[in-house]
């Protein structure tokens, strides 16, 4: 059962990921990215990360992607024209990417090839209670610093996007 769900949602994630980079229109890419994020949220749920799965759906699929779609609408972004790419990127891009993936996959297989198995329900430490417990005891300082980061981001976004006041 675990393997069935993993293969189903991994396939959806990879297909939507390919769709993100192949679609010509930004809005199609954005909707494909929502598909990737939703299937990743299901995989989080299977890994026992309930809180993170919900946060993924609310923050990423809900907030961040809506922001993207608003900007696409606001700028009236059309399909991108096929510009002339540098011959270097065309020639070396795909082989370099495949080489990178090959190296990473090789190290994953050699270091984590028999690292154990994921079975649904064998890790119950991902509930909102345990995440909150860790967040407000061991990781309290980073959590508080995060609020400053978000404040700075809000101010930065407002300053960048405002109309000139002169």
């Amino acid at each position: 059962m675990d393997i069935f769900f993993f293969i189903l949602f991994a396939t959806i994630a990879v297909v939507c990921g390919i769709s993100v980079i192949l679609q010509k229109h930004p809005i199609s890419s954005a909707l494909s990215l929502v598909g990737v994020m939703g299937s990743i949220a299901v995989l989080y749920l299977a890994l026992g990360a309930e809180f993170i799965a919900m946060a993924q759906i609310i923050v990423y699929a809900g907030a961040v992607m809506v922001l993207f779609i608003f900007v696409i609408m606001l700028l009236n972004a059309g399909a991108e024209q096929a510009a002339g790419r540098s011959w270097m990127a065309q020639l070396l891009g795909i082989p370099a990417l495949l080489a990178m993936f090959g190296v990473v996959a090789y190290f994953i297989q050699s270091y984590f090839g028999n690292a154990g198995f994921m079975k649904f329900g064998n890790f119950k430490g991902g509930s909102a209670q345990s995440v909150g417990m860790a967040l407000f005891t061991d990781y309290l300082l980073p959590f508080e610093v995060t609020s400053v980061l978000i404040l700075v981001a809000i101010l930065g976004a407002i300053v960048l996007a405002r109309k000139e006041l002169d």
Binding site: F123, G125, G126
Partner: protein, 115 residues
């Protein structure tokens, strides 16, 4: 079906999904993000590919958290989400400003730092 493959299939059916498969999926999604980052020309799509890469890394954090039976990976994923949300807000504001000043979304035409 060869002997080893059959044994592996039985093991997977009995024990669940190997953690390394999650890591491989994460590597695949990260590579797709890098590919989009390199080959796409629209600023917005490039930005979406960055989000895709962040998501791929988050998936490997959660997989490691499951492997070690510790909640630390979830905490780190949480912080990555916070940073990604802040980054999206600032980045999209920058895109708006660039579009207002240049009237284009093509990253090849926004190259004034080059010369």
């Amino acid at each position: 079906m060869p002997e080893g493959l059959q044994q592996g299939a039985q093991q997977i059916l009995a024990n669940g999904v190997p953690i390394s498969w999650y890591l491989i999926l994460s590597a695949v999604l990260f590579t797709l993000g890098v590919a989009g980052f390199l080959f796409r020309r629209s600023i917005i799509t490039v930005f979406m590919c960055i989000e895709l890469m962040l998501n791929a890394v988050n998936l490997s954090f959660v997989a490691f958290s499951n492997m070690h039976r510790q909640v630390g990976g979830h905490i780190f994923t949480f912080f990555v989400m916070v940073v990604a949300a802040a980054e999206a807000a600032v980045g999209l504001a920058i895109i708006l400003t660039v579009f207002k000043n240049r009237g284009t979304l093509n990253i090849d035409e926004v190259s004034s730092l080059k010369n």
